[in-house]
């Protein structure tokens, strides 16, 4: 049923107009809120920097295929619309093998490149793998409780709640466990997240390249107070860090097992607190809560 030829008007092709408008709206939104507090796009630690580099590069690689696909969708819809009777029309076209091979090859090549990048990224940024740095690594033990984070510095024998201070450009080896449903420890500015699970210890290596306060949060739902389970990670120079440790050690409170037990009771939106000393190896004790008494498992 040949139609009358109608001259093409851009307004007629509304889908592209809307897509253009939406794209501009999205860009405006990004500029509106400013690149500054888009945590993932301006990393403060080597791990986060590597991860955001991988994200940005992967997106650019994929755009090589996605933009031509959008363009093809637009031009094909425009050229072969029904009212354009001048365009070629081959209703019984049998597709040639070469076009199929090309159509299979394009995504395969792009995916191969992405797999290569992914494989290196996965091995290089394995959260259990220690980071290369001049400074000696420092271990901080983290216990996820019902709706608050407990940080224990085993070497300095101090503990804090919902607040952790780390010296800058020192690799930190976080050891995570939890005394509550499965949770996830995440500081977006410094690097990826890692699950904290009861009865076992997972590890996460992060490093802060500059000083500053970074928001940290729980990423896996673990009950009512999940949204309030946020903490502040402050990286400061080595000097400020030592003075902070001194001020904590001068305070009188100590974290004994009974203190820990009532801290572990469910409570929400806890203000940061600090303990001058920790009684015994609290981290191991929390894990053995879930082990059998006579451990001959």
């Amino acid at each position: 049923m040949p139609g009358r030829y109608k001259k093409y008007k851009l307004s007629e092709h509304k889908l592209t107009c809307v897509s253009l408008i939406t794209a501009t709206v999205a860009l405006a939104l990004v500029l509106l809120i400013g690149k500054s507090n888009v945590a993932l796009l301006n990393p403060k630690g080597w791990v986060a920097w590597q991860e955001s580099k991988l994200i940005v590069q992967s997106v650019l690689i994929m755009l090589i295929v996605v933009i031509p696909t959008f363009a093809a969708a637009f031009f094909i819809s425009r050229k072969y619309r029904q009212s354009n009777v001048k365009a070629a029309y081959t209703p019984e076209a049998v597709n040639s093998r070469t076009t199929q091979i090309v159509l299979w090859a394009i995504p395969s090549v792009i995916v191969a490149v992405l797999i290569f990048k992914m494989w290196n990224g996965a091995h290089e940024l394995d959260p259990f793998r220690p980071l290369h740095a001049q400074e000696q690594p420092m271990t901080i033990q983290v216990v996820a409780l019902q709706w608050k984070w407990l940080f224990i510095y085993p070497d300095l024998n101090i503990a804090t709640v919902n607040f952790v201070q780390i010296p800058e450009s020192t690799p930190i080896n976080f050891e995570l466990t939890s005394d509550a449903p499965m949770n996830s420890f995440w500081i977006p500015s410094l690097g990826g997240q890692m699950y904290a699970m009861p009865g076992m210890a997972t590890k996460l290596q992060l490093i802060a390249d500059t000083t500053g306060d970074f928001a940290g949060s729980a990423a896996e739902i673990n009950g009512k107070g999940f949204a309030g389970m946020k903490f502040m990670a402050r990286s400061s120079s080595r000097g400020d860090f030592n003075t902070w440790v001194q001020s904590v050690q001068n305070s009188s409170s100590t974290l004994t097992w009974p203190d820990y037990e009532n801290l572990a009771k469910p409570s929400e939106n806890i203000q940061p607190a600090a303990y001058a000393s920790v009684q015994g190896d609290l981290f191991a004790q929390v894990m053995t809560k879930y082990m059998p008494e006579h451990t001959h498992q």
């Binding site: 059998p292 006579h294 498992q297």
Partner: protein, 190 residues
């Protein structure tokens, strides 16, 4: 040798159901494989498995699979009384298997090793229990089959149902072989 219902959609549909049952058992096996060593200080596999009794149970089930095969031969030759007899024997053997298995479970529970003791015991009871449940459903199916043979004889309608029952029974036997190997033998061996 087979009634016209054999390669029809009923047999294929039932076979596809058996495949979904196989995958269900595979998920239970995956759970058992992950939890077989989490005994939480409780008894390990070596301590609670009484292999001779399990061996007897396996032989009983193999025999019942054999008698079920004989019953199907009788059904295909249209011998009503013979098939009734063999299905009855299959029922008795299946019942014996179930009684032995339940007595083993009761023995474990009386010793305080019930499913609440540890993750290993939970997954053991779940896996072997689900198989036991399937055997119970099979036994109920035989009773309905026996009643149908007696009242309606070996019509194509009834014999196609009996063909499906025999598939179900042999399939349960295969699942038991894997339970016998991966749960009991591997438990005692390693």
């Amino acid at each position: 040798m087979h009634p016209e219902h054999n390669s029809g959609k009923y047999i294929f549909g039932f076979w596809v159901y058996l495949m979904t049952d196989l995958i269900m058992f595979a998920a239970l096996f995956a759970a058992f494989a992950a939890l077989r060593i989490s005994t939480f200080g409780g008894p390990t596999m070596k301590e609670i498995f009484d292999l001779p009794q399990i061996m007897i149970e396996t032989l009983i089930l193999l025999m019942s699979s054999f008698t079920c095969g004989l019953a199907m031969l009788a059904v295909f030759r249209g011998k009503k009384k013979l098939s009734f007899l063999w299905f009855g024997v299959t029922f008795i053997l299946g019942l014996a298997f179930l009684i032995l298995e339940l007595s083993e479970f009761r023995h474990l529970i009386n010793d305080g090793q019930s499913w609440t003791r540890s993750a290993f015991l939970s997954s053991y009871f779940a896996l072997v229990g689900t198989h036991g449940l399937h055997i119970a459903v099979g036994l109920l199916w035989i009773l309905v089959g026996l009643y149908q043979i007696k009242t309606r004889g070996l019509t194509p309608f009834i014999s196609s149902k009996l063909v499906r029952f025999s598939l179900f029974w042999h399939f349960l036997d295969i699942v038991w072989i894997f339970i016998f190997t991966f749960v009991y033998l591997m438990g005692v061996a390693t």
